[in-house]
């Protein structure tokens, strides 16, 4: 079973524990995605700008520690509003890849193009981002 832990500063409830629960639930429901979990290494930072809440996921090839705030020098940084963060979790996965050609996917692309969703690392770490999107997707 993948090891997912909350750092001591993370309280029950709130974005950090919600995202950890989403990933845990997904891995239980979709065991094939464990390969993506095991392959991930490094820090991913998420910022819900409207809620003024941020967090970092520290992946270490089969384990994950979830922190409040920014930790280290994340290779991927995602900044947007709370609703869009949950839209990211609703991206469909088809043929093992995130699928952007439906209303949810187009909505995400539109927000990227209009600057409402900012992703640092989109170009430099596409494989890592794809794996993370799959881990986050509840679809």
């Amino acid at each position: 079973m993948p090891q997912i832990e909350l750092s001591p500063d993370v309280e029950d409830g709130g974005m950090a524990s919600m995202i950890a629960d989403i990933i845990k639930g997904n891995l239980q429901e979709k065991p094939k995605r464990k390969n993506d979990f095991i392959a991930l290494n490094g820090n991913i930072y998420m910022n819900a700008e409207d809620a003024e809440v941020d967090m970092t996921l520290v992946f270490n090839k089969g384990s994950l520690m979830v922190h409040n705030g920014k930790v280290g020098n994340p290779q991927i940084c995602i900044a947007t509003d709370s609703g869009t963060l949950l839209d990211l979790a609703n991206i469909n996965v088809k043929f093992g890849l995130p699928y952007y050609f439906d209303s949810i996917g187009w909505g995400v692309i539109t927000k990227l193009l209009t600057g409402k969703l900012k992703i640092k690392g989109l170009v430099t770490h596409p494989i890592k981002l794809t794996r993370f999107t799959k881990l986050m997707s509840v679809r």
């Binding site: 029950d12 409830g13 709130g14 919600m18 429901e29 819900a48 809440v53 709370s82 949950l86 979790a89």
Partner: protein
């Protein structure tokens, strides 16, 4: 003897009390009292927005858990249980705590937080991200249904209601009395 929750008698008596209070109480109804819950149920049953965003395969109750706060006359936690199936709101009831806790998704907040939601000062998703509202249940399932879930709560704001910041000492006394009577009659403890 209180009615036993889950029986036909409980349901009939609860419905009768709600209807009587909806007829007799002045509008706007007091937030989270049975008449207000009844108005919310009527609103959602006819709500085209909810029907349009609800998932056709949805099964499971959403529960709003209001933490007790004696300053507002709410001397015990309140569990408002939304019985949902596909795109239908079957019923909304104030239920016994044991039953409320068993809901598939329980969103917990203080009365002040729920008031902020009711006044559209706090967005539900933002509130959950900030930990102001706490969600229990299968996260992937509720995230799949985030749009209908948000609509359910947003509709509560559209129903309106007399919010806690407008409650006078007389209203607070009446709330205490109502909760006490509901607990005695419907086993809502």
């Amino acid at each position: 003897m209180p009615y036993t929750h889950g029986t036909q008698e409980w349901e009939e008596a609860y419905t009768a009390v709600t209807k009587k209070r909806m007829d007799s109480e002045k509008k706007p109804y007091i937030y989270f009292m049975p008449e207000w819950v009844g108005a919310w149920e009527e609103f959602l049953k006819a709500d085209p927005v909810y029907k349009s965003v609800a998932l056709p395969d949805w099964k499971g109750a959403v529960v709003l858990h209001v933490l007790k706060n004696a300053d507002y006359g709410v001397e015990q936690d309140i569990y408002v249980y939304l019985d949902l199936l596909a795109n239908q709101v079957r019923s909304i009831r104030i239920v016994p705590s044991d039953y409320g806790k068993s809901g598939a998704f329980v969103i917990t907040g203080t009365i002040e937080r729920w008031m902020a939601v009711g006044k559209k000062e706090l967005d539900v998703v933002k509130g959950m991200m900030q930990g102001k509202l706490k969600l229990k249940g299968n996260l992937p399932a509720i995230v799949r249904a985030i749009k209908p879930a948000v609509r359910l709560v947003d509709a509560a704001a559209e129903v309106g209601g007399l919010m806690p910041d407008a409650w006078t000492p007389e209203i607070i006394e009446s709330i205490k009395e109502t909760i006490k009577n509901m607990a005695a009659e419907f086993n809502i403890n």
